[in-house]
Symmetry: D2
Subunit: 338 residues, 4 copies
């Protein structure tokens, strides 16, 4: 076992910087050796800020570096699958942001390349590493609530993304609900058989004009009989709302939002608690560290990655099923999608 893992980062955007900072400052076992971005300036700036030894405009420089054993793929979504394939062929272990691709055949090709190369691939569903969702997961696994019967996920963003992004992100199910689809599988410990989506454009007509919806209630039917309801909104006035509840034969586990502090003010107008942490960067700050630490450890200790390529693929299937459900206004089985 090597004491430190040499890592190259591909993509120096917002989430790339989060991972880079965590690798640089929070994970002593990792050594971030290079960053690549097609915008050379972004790569250089990040390298300079964090003291990363090398910065390239071409990710292939990273793939060629023998000191680098693993890559973290944070480039734009449409390049993920390509990067995964190239990295696999170069024999690098891979952490890839979600989704691997929006096209299932494309995902399958990438997963085949990973299989063939025998490298590790971890997909970036960071919410699984949130301490509260972890605790819920453990409690369920330990049987503390008995057999899971009903799952409820509330997942609402503080504000919608720019319309240009809405147009290319693959729709709310691929961009936003995909995390809830992953959470559903993670918590229920079961696969989803069928999906039904009820939706609306209630926040911004421009989102509808872009061919998407901004509000959704998605019903899930699990293989073992459990049921689920996810609700999504692109804009919650009070901020980022990330709650989960699993109800089972012996009890229930509930995860509420996290606040930036525990100071509550009582005055003549009421009792006022702070709003939740602003958005995913803040809410999942610790989760991002934990997922990257888990990736580094699974490579160093040669253990299976905690979130696999298969885990990255299934929520995309669920997204297609939800989309079809919305289009055809009927429940859709996942088996219809393949």
């Amino acid at each position: 076992m090597a004491s430190q893992l040499g890592i190259g980062l591909i993509g120096a955007g917002r989430i790339g910087r989060v991972h880079a900072e965590n690798l640089a400052y929070r994970i002593p076992q990792a050594r971030l050796l290079a960053v690549a971005d097609v915008y050379a300036e972004a790569a250089h700036k990040l390298a300079h800020d964090l003291g990363i030894p090398a910065a390239y405009p071409d990710h292939r420089r990273i793939l060629e570096d023998p000191a680098i054993q693993a890559v973290v793929v944070c480039s734009s979504t449409d390049t993920h699958a390509q990067m995964v394939e190239e990295a696999a062929r170069a024999g690098k272990h891979i952490f890839c942001e979600k989704p691997i691709a929006l096209d299932l055949a494309r995902i399958d090709r990438a997963l085949a390349a990973v299989d063939q190369a025998g490298v590790k691939l971890q997909v970036g569903f960071q919410r699984r590493f949130d301490p509260s969702f972890q605790r819920a997961h453990e409690a369920i696994r330990a049987g503390q609530i008995g057999v899971p019967h009903i799952l409820r996920i509330t997942s609402r963003d503080p504000q919608p993304p720019p319309i240009e992004y809405v147009r290319v992100c693959g729709g709310i199910f691929m961009d936003m609900t995909i995390h809830d689809f992953d959470m559903a599988r993670f918590l229920m410990g079961d696969e989803v058989d069928e999906v039904y989506a009820a939706c609306g454009v209630l926040i911004d007509p421009a989102i509808g004009e872009a061919g998407d919806v901004d509000t959704a209630v998605v019903t899930l039917q699990f293989a073992n009989g459990g049921l689920g309801a996810i609700d999504n909104s692109r804009r919650a006035a009070y901020g980022y709302d990330q709650r989960v509840e699993v109800f089972g034969s012996q009890g229930m586990v509930t995860v509420s939002n996290n606040a930036p502090n525990a100071a509550v003010i009582s005055d003549a107008g009421g009792i006022h608690a702070p709003l939740p942490l602003h958005f995913f960067i803040e809410r999942y700050a610790e989760a991002y560290v934990a997922e990257m630490r888990a990736f580094v450890e699974c490579v160093l200790h040669d253990t299976p990655p905690p979130v696999t390529g298969h885990d990255g693929r299934v929520p995309v299937v669920m997204g297609y099923a939800a989309k079809l459900s919305l289009e055809e206004h009927r429940p859709v089985r996942l088996s219809e999608i393949e």
Copy 2:
């Protein structure tokens, strides 16, 4: 305006006793003059316990009494419509437990009789009078959360009813979800267009054998575009679970469960709060008083009843739609039911 309202009670069962006690001890403007029950003994016992002047095996004795201006119908569900019609013809104002009937034509005949007689009819959806749901309703009406987008109702019983009851109650949607259907209309201030039901028999196979389900997730589509998700279970290990959330363009109102006390114990094993109030009799104790007080007042002051015959009818339509959705495995519009 009369200072006191003479009232006769039809049906001396469990809920009849709740109303009788409230009328006798909690509502000074009411004067409970007689109780009728086909089981004469039950009527006599209740009359004796509460000092009600008269007890009859035949409800017609109540309808003939000129000192009685209003009746409270708590007899078995299959007699409700009949009682409403007879009482209307006798010129009595009527408080009727839900549902008026399971058959829509039967409901319509009863409502027509009420209309013709020009008497008041209030239907027993007591949850509307719960202080927390009232407060939520007011906040929504006052625009505090903006336009309602997403409704969430969790409604779970502490244990399933006896199988004999399951067989005759009309199914989970008519017996249990019907209250949530009413709450949905009450809080959203909007009508439901379409229903989709996903269900399971997860608690007791005997419920399935009786032709019913014990676990359900029901999606609602409202006329103005709002969405709703109701989840039901016939058995929550931790007791009666009655929560509601309405999310709107400007905010959210959330109603959590009520506990019998506010004492929390912290020890080496965790921080332990009390379970919710046991079941509907306890949780809605104040709501039962408030709904009866509202009925008495609407008669005495000649104002419209706060829960009308129409309010009693719509949730039955929703129940049929949910049933059809379950049978045909597709979303069902309420307009298909009529």
Copy 3:
């Protein structure tokens, strides 16, 4: 055992009306037969409103009535001891509002009269009957928190009483803290040895001019070594604040405030919960019923009253000790007071 207890009410003021309504509407075993008040009109109005058969300006009419076995003393504080003595001599069981008297010798004479007559006396410390404080008491008694080490009581009023009342009420310790002194004994299951009071006039200088304080922190030293801290304010902007915490060797029990409803609103400005129930009439509504029911039952079943004359006397001693502590700026032992 008689099935119903004949009761006479002495004093038709605010708290008298609370007890009268509870006796009339909430406690079937009680029969409120007469009310007396030196203001004859007040007595008549209350009798009329609640259907009480008799109303007198002279309480002796009640004491002479053989159908009346028990009296409820709600007259002005300075007459309590006199009423207790007369009622005892008349052989009536007695419920007396706190305090029995502000003068210890006067209390002792009244308690001696009760003893001699062999009647029951219950003192009106209603907080003991609050469901949350009851639960805390039971948990402590059952050993759930081990040996009590630290007691914390927060007790703050929504607004100060009128200055005329401040002048005659005996001071904050006798008027307000006296309830907390009782709660301290009730929860800790121990007697207080010593008191230290730190005070201020922070709300209204007129209270200081009237010879009283409006803010206090009182330290208690219990016989078994436990410690306590009570804090009082005559004006909490957010309303009536009544919290208690007992910390012990094995854990802690905490009682928070009660809200009128469980509806919480989240908006861009924060998460807003409702203020506590307004004042003692609302907060202790159920406790007033429960204490009166307990009184009626202890008479009917011939069991000891749950709050004795001794329980009524000790908090007055504690009040004197606190007063002396404030005057002499030092800790004062209760044994110095007798």
Copy 4:
């Protein structure tokens, strides 16, 4: 302004490691250049683990290094004042763990040396940097609760320190309450005039035999009339308990404990929330980062340190006052101590 601050760490024990890790991984503006510890091995191990360039057994090597502009003093308490003096004379800015010394004259000498050298000194009261206490502080400063009237601090440890430590730590007031004394000044924005301490040995007789107490309730009288009550216990069965409340003329701010996650489990036995974060290292993890970041920034930006030498001195005076109060069983003014 230099872009990075060269720092030397004196003392490689538990808290030294916390600061070292924060400086190494969390504060990019800091550059930890050397560590010194009389146990050379401890210094070397820490240097190796974190990649610190130099490790010495003698702190003077740090003081002589011109690349080091600031030192962090984490050596044993009895050496703090000496280190502060030497560092000041060497022209280094100083972060010093609390307390500077237990002897007031010793503190004064150290502060004089700091003054004379014109270096900055920040004392390690990390709780001021906790996000919740920060928020409370800001709310109070902004007038959101009006004029502060009553302060309540609950501060309880999960378990007592070893008896050997109890013997040398200066007693509960110097070791534990000192943090609460600092918090009292920080939140109330006022100085304490007088202290009264009521104490007990309720947890472990060995603590009493060592001349200390393990349970305390300390009353504070502030210069502007405000009152405070601190309660301490050396052992809370449910873990580290760190709560604060400030009640003012217009409202109240309350800080509750922090839990490691937000997962709550409801089952037939109750509703179970997680225990608080274990102890100060976990609870104040972010506060330790924030205080060190504040120190680095105050040096780099040449602004006043947020916690001054005076802030380090006053709580020691309060500790002596509390000790004297306990010994003489009376309230003690701070002016008696000097």
